[in-house]
Symmetry: C2
Subunit: 554 residues, 2 copies
C-alpha cells in the first residue's frame, strides 16, 4: 500500500503520443478514479492485430483503490477497452444515458452481465472516495458528451473530454460555457484538454452547416441518395433524416453498427424519426429510387463495410445503379486515405455520382480548433495545464498555445503514457513513471502477440518462407530422407524450378559438410543450413525469406 | 503484322486508374512512339514488393514498329521503368538534357551501357516514322519538363505531360503558352492532359512563394536549419540555396539521391551554387550551427531516408540538437500521411522545431489546378479529349471539366490501361483492348511474384504459420516420428504451451483416424491434418494461421 502523501497524481495510461486508447488515472491517497477506457486501432505494422487496448497493470496493482470508471462519451477510443478491462477489475461505471446505452450494447456482445452501470446527467455531482465529480455538458460528434470537473482535496481538475464549441447545435445541446466559466472563476488547479485539432486555426464549423449542405444536395437530386457516415454521429444521422423528411424520401439503414446505434438512439430518445419514414431495406424496391435515402456505414472505406460491399457489388440487398448519388459524410482518418479513395473510384466506376469532403461541405470535425481551445483555456483559467488526446506534435502545439495565452512554461506538462504528474496545492512535478503500454488483441488472444510474433509476421509478409526438412538417423546422424524444400509467399514455384533445385543442392552440400566435420548438434546443423541457404538466395535474387530448418530423427 | 488501316491509335499502357506508371503508345500503321516509361510504388497489400512496372507485352509483340521512347520529364513515374523495358526493347530515347542526365544516372546503377540517348530542346521538332514530334516548354516540380505535340498523318495530338502554369517561375522557365496557342489555332485532333490536381479549384501557387516563405523563416532562425524535400525538385533546392546565401549560411547535402541529383544538376547547369557555399557534411562542425543549412531526403518519412535516420538518432554524420529547425518542404503523397507524421513526432521529441505544410507555405504542388487546366483546354481547343494521369475519380472529374468548357460528351474518352482509342480525321471510338497490367519487381525478380505469392504473404502476415511435420513408414504408413509442430508469427509459444500441446494431440488423432481408415495418399492425409487443426485453432483462439503439413517417408 502506498504512503498517504496527500499528493494528487494524474497518470495518463493511454491517449498521449497517440490518437486513441484514452484512459487517465486520478489518484489521491487511497482513492483512484479512472477517466475513460478506450481502444486504438492497430498501426499498419501491427500485422493481423484487431485492436490495441491499454496495459492496466497499474490499476490491477492498486485495485482496492479504484472507485469507478467515469466516461466522457461513447466513442470507441473512450469506451472500447471496457469489456477487456472489466473482466479484470469490475468497478462501477458512470456515464450519460447514451454513452451507457452504447456500453451496454457492447457488453451484450461480450456476454458481460455483471457490470455496474450508473447513469449521470450534466450538472450532476457524484461522490467517489475523496473526489466530487461534476459533469459539464459539451458538444462533440456524438450526443451526450461531457467534460468533468474533479473536485479533489487539493483543488479542481477539469478534463474536457473530446469537445468542440457549437453555437447552433442539433437538438440545442449547447456546450455549457457558463459552467466552465463558473468553475474557472472559483479556481482550477489543472486543465486536461483535447489536442486533436490544435494544429487547425480558427473555429470548427457548426454541425448545422452540414444539414444545409444536405438540403442543397437533396433539392437537386433526382435519384437514390446513399449517405455514408460514422454510426455514432447521431446528430449527422438526424440531419440526414430531416432532409429526407423535408424532401419526401423514405430512410433505409444499412450496416450492422449503423442498425445497432440507430436502435439504441431511437430507444433512448436521441433520434427523432417520424413514423413511416424508416423502412426495411427489403421494402426499398417498393418505392421509386428518387424517394429513397440509404444511411450506411463505410465512410472510412473499411473493406467489409456496407458501402464497400455496394461498391464491389457484394451487398446482398442493394445493387448500385448508374446515377445513384453517394455522399461520403466524413473525412478519412489519417491512414485511411487510400482505402477511402479506392472506394470512391469503385463507386464511380459503377456509375454512381460521389460527393466527398473536397467537393462540398458534407462534414465537420467534432474537435475544437485553436480559437475554441483558447476560449476554454481562458474560461477555465487553470494554474497547470496537461495537453491530452494527441500525438506528440499535437501536445507540443497545444502547450505552445497555452504559452501564447500567458501560462508559464513550467506550469505546462507534456506527458507520456505512464507519466505521473504529482500536485500539491501550490506545486507540480513529474514523479516516477508507472507501467503503461499496448496490449494487442488478435482474435480471442489478448496479449499473446508481441514484438517477436509481429517481427516474424513482418518477415514472412515481405519475402515469404522456405521450410527445409531433413530426416536423419538416430544412430549415426546420416541423412535418411530429404532435404525437402517447401516455400510459401516466396516465388512462383513453377517458374522458379531451377532456383528450388539449386537451393536443395546447397542444403545437401551444407549437410555433407556437417557430416564430414562430425557436426551433429541440431542447433549448429540448423544454423548452418540457414546461413548457407540465406547467402545463396540473397545472391541469386536479392530476397531474404524466412528460412525454417526442421530436423526429424528416426 | 497488323493491317494498314490508316487509323491513329492511342493506347495508354499505364497511368490510368492510378497515379504513376505512366506510359502511352501512339500508333499509326507501321509506326509506334511511346511516351514515358514510368514505375509506380506498390500498394500496401503488395507485401514485400519494391516497385511495379508496366506490362509491355503489346510493345514486344509490335517491336519492329517501335521507333522511340519520348520522355516528358525525369520523375520516377515517367522514367523509372526504363531500365527494365530497355533490356527487352532497346529503342532510341528522346528527352531534355536534365531528363536524360537522370536517366543516364539510373542506367549506370543498372549497368546499362548501350542506351541510345538523344537530347532535345523545347521547340525542337523530330521525325519518328510518320510522326513529327514537337516539344513545348512547361513548368513542373522538376526543371526541363516538356509537353508534346505529335503531328500525325491525320492530325495533331497534344500530350501535356505533368505540368502547372507558373507565371513567375524560378530561372524564368515560363511554360510556353504561346506555343500551345499557336498549335491550338492550327487545329488539334486530341488532347491528353494531366488530371492529378483536377479536384482542386483555383490555381497552384507559384514556386516563388515558397522562396519567400524560406526567407521569412531563415530571417528569424538562430539555429541550424534542416530542409527536407524531393531530390528532383531542383527549383526548390535552388531556392533553399538562395536563402542560405542571402543569410550567410553554408549548405550541406545529405541522402544518397539528394547527392546524386544535385551533382547531375550542377554538372548540367540546372543549379547555381556560389563557390564556397557547398561544404562537406564532415566539415559541418567547423561552423557555428546558425551558419548551416542541411538539404536532405526523407520528406515522405521513408524509413531508411536521411531525415528518418536523423529523427531516430541513426544518422552517422548528423546528430540533432534541441533547437534545430526542420522544414518539411513537401506534402505527404497519399498513403504516406502516417509515416510522415511519425517522423515529425520523433523530430519534435528530439527537441527540434518542425515546420510542415499545415503550419506554413513551405510547399506548392507541381500539378495544374482547375483554372490552369481550363486555360490549357481553351488554348489547345482539341476535338477529342482523353484525361490521363489519375485515378478514376480524377479522370471522371477532368471529363466533367471538359464538358463544362463546352466539349461534347461523346468526344471525351475515359479510358483504362490497355484501352485502344482509334481515330480517323473525323471520328473516334474505342477499339478492342490490348494486354496491359502490373509487373511486380521484388529484389532481382521481375514478375516472379504474382497473386498467389501475394495471397500467401498476406495470409502469413495476418496470423502466421504452423508447420506440422510427420515421418511415416514406407512399408505400412505408420508414424515413425512426430508429429512435430513449429509455429512462426502465430503466438508467443512460451505463453501458449498448452495450445501447442493440444494442437499436437489433435494432429495425432487425425493421423490415428487415417491409419484406422487405411488412408495413405499424401494429399488426403495433408488435407485432413490441415482441416482438423484449422478447426481446432479457430475455435480456441479465433485465428486462422497458414497450416503447412509436411510428410517425410523413410
Amino acid at each position: 500500500m502506498a504512503k498517504r502523501n496527500n499528493k494528487l497524481k494524474i497518470i495518463p495510461l493511454g491517449g498521449l503520443g497517440e490518437v486513441g486508447k484514452n484512459i487517465t488515472v486520478i489518484e489521491y491517497n487511497d482513492d483512484i478514479v479512472v477517466i475513460d477506457c478506450g481502444l486504438i486501432f492497430p498501426e499498419d505494422e501491427m500485422l493481423g492485430i484487431d485492436m490495441v487496448i491499454p496495459d492496466i497493470t497499474y490499476l490491477l496493482k492498486n485495485r482496492e483503490k479504484v472507485r469507478a470508471i467515469v466516461l466522457t462519451h461513447g466513442h470507441e477510443d473512450h469506451i472500447g477497452a471496457l469489456p477487456y478491462v472489466l473482466k479484470k477489475i469490475n468497478v462501477p461505471i458512470y456515464g450519460t444515458k447514451l454513452t451507457l446505452g452504447l456500453v451496454e450494447n457492447k457488453f451484450k456482445e461480450h456476454n458481460i452481465t455483471n457490470a455496474k452501470l450508473n447513469i449521470i446527467k450534466p450538472n450532476d455531482i457524484i461522490n467517489l472516495g475523496c473526489f466530487n465529480i461534476e459533469f459539464i455538458k459539451t458538444a462533440h460528434s456524438i450526443p451526450d458528451s461531457v467534460a468533468l470537473a474533479i473536485h479533489t482535496p487539493i483543488g479542481t481538475v477539469v478534463h474536457t473530454g473530446d469537445f468542440k464549441i457549437d453555437y447552433t447545435p442539433i437538438n440545442n445541446n449547447m456546450i455549457d460555457l457558463h459552467k466552465f466559466a463558473e468553475i474557472g472563476s472559483k479556481g482550477v488547479l489543472a486543465l486536461l484538454a483535447d489536442s486533436t485539432n490544435v494544429e487547425r486555426p480558427g473555429y470548427t464549423m457548426s454541425e448545422k452547416t452540414v444539414g444545409a449542405t444536405f438540403n442543397d444536395i437533396f433539392l437537386m437530386a433526382d435519384q437514390r441518395i446513399i449517405v455514408a457516415t460514422f454510426a455514432s454521429n447521431i446528430h449527422r444521422i438526424q440531419q440526414i433524416v430531416n432532409s429526407a423528411v423535408l424532401f419526401g424520401r423514405k430512410v433505409v439503414v444499412s450496416g450492422r453498427s449503423m442498425v445497432n446505434v440507430i436502435n439504441v438512439a431511437l430507444e433512448l430518445g436521441y433520434l427523432n424519426i417520424p413514423d413511416g419514414t424508416l423502412i426495411d431495406i427489403n421494402d426499398m424496391n417498393n418505392f421509386p429510387y428518387n424517394e429513397i435515402v440509404v444511411i450506411t456505414t463505410g465512410s472510412q472505406g473499411e473493406p467489409m463495410s456496407a458501402l464497400s460491399r455496394m461498391a464491389y457489388s457484394e451487398h446482398r440487398k442493394l445493387e448500385l445503379v448508374p446515377g445513384d448519388l453517394v455522399i461520403i459524410s466524413a473525412t478519412p482518418i489519417p491512414g485511411n486515405e487510400k482505402t477511402v479513395s479506392r472506394v470512391i473510384n469503385q463507386l464511380m466506376e459503377k456509375g454512381a455520382n460521389v460527393i466527398y469532403e473536397s467537393l462540398a461541405d458534407v462534414h465537420v470535425s467534432g474537435h475544437a480548433c485553436q480559437e475554441e481551445l483558447k476560449l476554454i483555456h481562458t474560461l477555465v483559467n487553470p494554474k497547470y495545464f496537461i495537453p491530452v488526446h494527441g500525438e506528440y506534435r499535437h501536445l507540443k502545439r497545444h502547450a505552445q498555445l497555452a504559452e501564447e495565452l500567458g501560462m508559464d512554461k513550467e506550469n505546462i506538462f507534456i506527458a507520456q503514457n505512464g507519466s505521473v504528474i504529482e500536485f500539491t496545492p501550490d506545486s507540480a512535478h513529474f514523479g516516477p513513471s508507472v507501467t503503461s503500454g499496448n496490449i494487442l488483441v488478435d482474435g480471442l488472444g489478448i496479449g499473446d502477440v508481441g514484438n517477436i510474433v509481429l517481427r516474424d509476421r513482418k518477415h514472412l509478409s515481405e519475402d515469404g518462407l522456405i521450410v527445409v526438412v531433413v530426416t536423419i538417423s538416430k544412430q549415426d546422424g546420416t541423412v535418411i530422407a530429404g532435404p525437402d524444400i517447401i516455400s510459401r509467399g516466396f516465388v512462383y514455384v513453377r517458374e522458379s524450378e531451377d532456383l528450388m533445385e539449386e537451393s536443395r543442392a546447397v542444403v545437401k552440400e551444407v549437410l555433407d559438410e556437417c557430416v564430414k566435420n562430425h557436426i551433429t548438434d541440431w542447433a549448429t546443423l540448423k544454423s548452418n543450413i540457414r546461413d548457407g541457404l540465406r547467402g545463396f538466395i540473397y545472391e541469386k535474387i536479392k530476397r531474404n525469406p524466412m528460412i525454417l530448418p526442421i530436423i526429424m530423427e528416426v
